[in-house]
């Protein structure tokens, strides 16, 4: 069995194509994301951002092309943290039960301690024993981010992580992502336009109709990429 590694991992898309029936979500996308990069992916609705992140997380199999991970030895697989549009939490369990269950599944040592640490970090400790179904969208989103951070992932994939967050929670998210970026973890996040979150990126990418339309590491051109005026 392959061993999950929390070391920063990158990935390479080689001519990846994803079709849903006759609809192309990604068209022969080739890109390489190095370990430790912080990438902001932008694009209109339906441009393929979510599909790109789901393929990178190995939740969706591409129709054509290969996905390879870098920064790991043979037999190692990256530890991936993924936050999607859906909160990926059980409404009928409490916040603490959700985190404990996923921590146990991931084989995290001292799962109780890790759950408490993350509940405190997300300011949800006082609601630890409340059912998730009683949470607001913003609280669910914070808990979803806590779930993604449980195993201290080497590759963090965030699909519009700011959804439903108020100003304070957004500030917490920005600080958290900044901390993870500074630790050298690989982060790929989909964002809508320029925000405090996108400003953390060291690379900006724009998708349009399943094609990488713009890709830059030059901070000076980030604004044009996010505004969609780079062409």
């Amino acid at each position: 069995m392959s061993q999950r590694i929390g070391r920063p991992a990158g990935f390479k898309f080689n001519n990846i194509e994803k079709r849903f029936g006759t609809l192309y979500a990604l068209r022969r996308v080739s890109l390489e994301i190095a370990p430790g990069e912080c990438v902001a992916v932008t694009g209109r609705n339906g441009s393929g951002k979510t599909t790109l992140l789901r393929i990178a997380s190995q939740l969706t199999r591409p129709t054509r092309g290969d996905l390879n991970f870098s920064g790991l030895s043979d037999g190692e697989v990256p530890s991936i943290g993924y936050v999607s549009h859906a909160v990926m939490l059980y409404d009928e369990l409490t916040a603490e039960e959700n985190l404990l269950m996923f921590a146990r599944l991931m084989g995290i040592p001292e799962p109780e301690k890790r759950a408490v640490t993350l509940l405190e970090a997300t300011d949800l400790a006082s609601r630890a024993r409340s059912l998730v179904r009683t949470f607001s969208r913003g609280m669910k989103q914070r808990l979803a981010i806590a779930r993604a951070l449980l195993q201290e992932p080497g590759l963090l994939l965030l699909d519009e992580p700011g959804t439903g967050l108020d100003t304070e929670s957004m500030a917490w998210l920005v600080n958290t992502v900044r901390g993870l970026r500074d630790e050298g973890r690989t982060i790929v996040m989909s964002v809508h336009g320029e925000s405090a979150l996108s400003q953390l990126a060291t690379r900006a990418m724009r998708l349009d109709a399943g094609v990488v339309f713009a890709d830059t590491r030059s901070g000076a051109t980030f604004q044009a990429v996010f505004a969609g005026t780079e062409a």
Binding site: T60, M88, Y90, E92, L105
Partner: protein, 224 residues
């Protein structure tokens, strides 16, 4: 072993969810109760007729209630996309199936054993003396239904006509469970009860074959 520890964690979650909601057990119990009572009033069978036709009726009721119970099995994992979270968390995706089929077997078995006594009262059939043997037949039959049903629930949860698809796929596939379960139950309810190992052998073989197939190919059923 990660497979067993993951299965135990997920099974606990399934039981905890059901303990809080009572959704599956209530729906299945009420359904079986209605079938048993309605048939009893409609045909008003004698004790001999009950022993002859009762087991078939009982297993048909179990099968229909199972299709109700199995429907939300994977559907509820799609609501918040928790299935994706599970796939990222477990080291072996078979643990997801194993936990669900264990939970479904337990839910089915509990419902069947509870409703067996209602059946005994309405159809005037003695079940206490053969209860342990009946429990064995019910366990093997329920496991067959749960194994096949859990796999089909994963498939149908992705389909557009999901509410109709599961029963349509499940009923024909479960004929090899329905016949031996009915025959083995009938043999136990006769005036001189016998445990028919030939029928039980077919049930065991069915369970082993479908469990192995699920272990080998289950991962593909979880993909989008």
């Amino acid at each position: 072993m990660p497979l067993l520890s993951n299965t135990a964690v997920l099974l606990r979650k399934e039981l905890q969810s059901e303990y809080r909601s009572h959704e599956l057990l209530t729906t299945a119990s009420v359904f079986i109760l209605i079938v048993i009572v309605l048939f009893s009033f409609t045909f008003d069978p004698t004790s001999a007729e009950s022993r002859q036709f009762g087991p078939g009726l009982l297993w048909l009721a179990f099968l229909f209630s199972a299709s109700l119970m199995l429907q939300p099995c994977f559907l509820k994992e799609r609501t918040n996309d928790t299935l994706s979270a599970l796939r990222l968390a477990v080291s072996d995706p078979f643990a997801i199936f194993l936990a669900k089929l264990c939970a479904n077997t337990i839910f089915l078995l509990v419902t069947e054993l509870l409703l067996l006594f209602v059946f005994a009262v309405f159809y005037n059939v003695a079940v206490l003396s053969v209860f342990p043997k009946l429990a064995l037949v019910f366990f093997l039959g329920s496991m067959g239904i749960a194994t096949t049903g859990t796999a089909l629930s994963a498939i149908s949860s992705l389909a557009r006509m999901r509410e109709v698809l599961l029963p349509l796929l499940l009923m024909p596939l479960l004929v090899p469970v329905l016949i031996p379960s009915t025959e083995a139950t009938k043999a136990l309810l006769e005036a001189e009860p016998t445990l028919r190992w030939d029928w039980l052998g077919i049930l065991i073989a069915f369970d082993v074959v479908f469990l192995t197939a699920l272990w080998l190919f289950g991962e593909y059923l979880l993909e989008e």
